[in-house]
Each structure stands twice: as C-alpha cells, then as structure tokens.
Amino acid sequence: MRHGVAIAGIGYTAYGRQPDVTVDALALEACRNAIADAGLAHGQVDGLVSYHASDSVLVRDLAPALGVPELNWWCDISAGGTFSCAVVTHAAMAIASGMARTIVVYRALLGRSGKRMGRYRGELTGGVHQFMTPYGFSSAPQIFGMICRRHMAEFGTTKEQLGAVAITMREHARLNERAMRREPLTLDAYLASRIIADPYSLFDCCQETDGACALVLTRAEDAAAGPHEPVHILGAVHGGGPMPRIPFDAWPSFTASEFDRLGGQLYARAGLAPSDIDVALLYDAFTYEVVQQLEDFGFCGRGEGGPFAAEGHIALGGSLPVNPHGGLLSEAYIHGLNHVVSAVEQLRGDGGARQVPGAETALVTGFGFSAGSAMILGRANVV
C-alpha cells in the first residue's frame, strides 16, 4: 500500500471532562489544528471522514464551519474502535484513486459529559441484544471481559499481569502533558480498585473522555512541501472473521482474535516482520486487549502475552515500547484515533520525554476482536 499518500498534519484538543463545550466545537478545533499543522489554509480541504459509534459529529454538520468549499469525497462510518485505522486507510484510498486531494480524518466525542458508552443503552433489546440485555449483559467491560476471562483460564494470565499493562500505560502518561491521568498507579492500588465486571476492575478500563483529534492526509508530494516530514502508510489491513460482529457469538475461539489472521496479511503488505516494529500503538480500551494483540501480531507466542507485558518489554526502553502516550487507558479515549496521532508524533521525533529513540516504523491498531483495522506507518526512508 505504498501508494503515494502521506499524513501531513495532526491536531487535537484538550482531553478530559469538558461539560461546557459542544462536540461540534471540539471537532472544529481539532480539525483546524491539524490543517494548520499541515501548513494549509482555511478552505484547502476537499474531503472529510469520521466514525461515529456513541457521541460524534457528522461530516455534513462539520463541513460548513470548517469552510470546505467543494466536498469531493466524504464518508460517515457507523462504527467504533474497529475503524480507528480503517478511517485513515479509507481516506488514503480516496486520495490514491483521485477522488479527493486533501482529506481531514477526525473523531470527536463528549464521551464523559455527553453520551457515556459504559452506561446502559435501554433501547438495545432487539437484534443480538435481545439475547444479552435481559441478562444484564450490555456494557463493553462485560462483553470484552469475556475474552479476557477465557485467556486467563486457558493460559494462566493473571490479574497482576493485567495490572502491569495498566501501570505501564500510566507511567507513560506521566510523561505526556496532555494525558488525563498522570498520578502514579501502584499494583496495590490497581488490585484494590473497585470491580466493574470481574475480571475487569476500574483501572482495567479506559478513560471516558471529552475531546477530539484529527489528521490531514494528502498526496505524498503535497505533504513533502509542508512543514513536517510526511508519515507514510507502509501497509494496512481492515477485515473481520466469519462472525465479525460484537459480542462474538459463535466465534471459534475466544483466545484467537481476527488479528491472528490480519496480522500476517499486514506484515506481508508492508514487507516487514514483528522485529522491524520500533513502537506499537495497540488499541487498549481494556488492559487485556494489549496482551491479546502482543500475541496476535507475533511479538510473543500464544499465551505468553501476560508474562511479556509483566517483564517490562512494553515499557519505554523495553524491546517493544507500547503506547508511549499512555494509551486509551491513561492518555484519553478518542476512540483510538489518538493512537494514530501519537504514532505520527513518534515518527516525526516529536515525542518529547516519551520519544522512542530513532523510531522509524510504528504499528497502529483498532481492535474489535472479531474484526479490526491496523496499519504500519513509517518515515520516508523506510518507504
């Protein structure tokens, strides 16, 4: 997928509890920041795309304030974190095919002060939910906790190993001035935190966030004329298995996600191997998802993800630094698009105190277990 498209700009708002702003204002601020970061002016955008599960702003509502005179391509996607990389590759495909020249990819949500994803969604008693909600089974920690439990039972993955993921993300967030959670987290405090849906307790769960972030994608030659070194998409995947929906009904094995298949496809497309990855931005709505993806993407063997995390490999300075920004667990939950922003920062060398020295390749993922999207991004010299 070395198709002459690059990420030229990144933008973001403050992350946290912001009850006094509208989600529209957050989206606008992040997009304007990304456009400015790319060295572009008001009116120089001709494509927009976002994904909208839970709180959001539709493209058609954002475009007027953003000053898009001619919208040549746009897409409103009804999906969640599964699409956090696919949304970027959709834009890249639109540019590569000539549909548009400069596309802003954004995600904005009042995830704390507006629609809260963890709350009961009472309207959901139809479709698959008729077999779930009558059992008090509806929230994400409950649904995703099921795959964690199975892994713990099959491979002996421990709560302490999940805690290592939470604590590592927190240690990284302490180096990130825009992270929501920067106070230290000890293993004792992690283990003592209130239970949400055992095996998940409070610190296994990501931050409910009001905020937005955005990216500008352009042709690589346009990006090269901008103020920053362009970041390239070396390979991408976006797919699902035979039953790609949540809650994974009839899924063959809860310890093998669809990334088990897509990961191989991704490395083949990028012409790279796990050992070539300098930094990994792994979708971490919950702690266990990091463990799962360490295995799926070949950084360790099946069942070894818990020990791999607990041994310090995923920390800054380890063999595979994961989520140097602090992840969804401690930076913020912008539905995974903040992982892409962080990857671009790392590849530009702009990671500050959390920079992975000399990072030239980054794996970024959007996890849905039974479906997902992922990319390998790289600097110009590895294209």
Binding site: T125, G127, F131, P134, Q142, G145, A153, R194, I195, A250
Partner: protein, 143 residues
C-alpha cells in the same frame, strides 16, 4: 429497586421460534435443514452452506461454561439487587462454539469456573417473559 422489571427481549420474526419455545420451557435452537448445523444467535441463512431453510430443534440443555464475568456494578434496570451476578457464555454439548448467554442462577460466584458443566433451566419473570438460564450441574467439576 426490586420492583423494576428486567429488560424483555424485543422479539422479531427471525427469533420468535426461540422465544415461543422458551415460554413452553423448551430450549430449541435454530438448525439448518440442509446440512444439520445449529446456529445461535439466529441468522436468516446458514453460514456453512447458505441454506435459508431452518427448523427449531430441541437440544439437551447440557453444556459448560465457556467464559463468564461477575458483574459488580450493574448498568441494567432490574439488576441492582442482583449484584454481584454472573453472566456466562454457555457452550452446548451439541456442537462446538454453539453458545448462548445465561445468568448462572443460585450460585456463589466463587464457585463458577471456565469448563464447569451446567444445565439449562427456565426463569419465568413477573412480566410474563420466560428466559433460558443455567445452574451449575450437581457434582460437576471444571474441565
């Protein structure tokens, strides 16, 4: 708020056969007429062979816990007095990966384990809805 009703399934034409059987205390699972594969949750065609012909076949109600969570903080109406309660994916003996969601009734959550054998039972709720549930099988040990 024990008087608050628990959510009732919104039944549709695809799933009506399942819920009507539950009302009679029968566990009937959608089964492909062409290839014999069971499927749950219901689907309009068989993923294995593509046939749209299906029947509601009674199954044994025997299974085991494939995975489970213990909900300590309920977000669902009618469950506030139930915490902590167990939600399990129960895998039925009839076919690999044939699973349904149940609460594990009348149990100490500490006794619930992956692999533990269970038996399906039926819960008749005050609003007239009957839902399949499960209990740990007597004398059962986790696999």
């Amino acid at each position: 708020m024990s008087s608050e009703p628990k959510p009732a399934p919104f039944v549709d034409e695809l799933t009506r056969g399942f819920w009507e059987a539950c009302a009679r205390h029968e566990l009937r699972i959608q089964r492909c007429v062409a290839c014999g594969r069971f499927r749950h949750f219901p689907l309009p065609a068989c993923p294995a062979c593509g046939s749209v012909d299906s029947t509601w076949a009674e199954v044994s109600g025997r299974g085991s816990i494939y995975s489970f969570v213990i909900v300590a903080q309920s977000v669902t109406p009618g469950f506030g007095d139930d915490v902590p309660y167990v939600v399990a994916w129960v895998e039925l003996v009839e076919q690999q990966a044939l699973r349904l969601v149940c609460n594990v009734l009348d149990c100490d959550p500490a006794d619930v384990a992956v692999g533990a054998p269970v038996e399906i039972c039926f819960e008749d709720r005050p609003d007239g809805v009957t839902v399949p549930q499960c209990r740990l099988a007597p004398g059962g040990e986790a696999a």
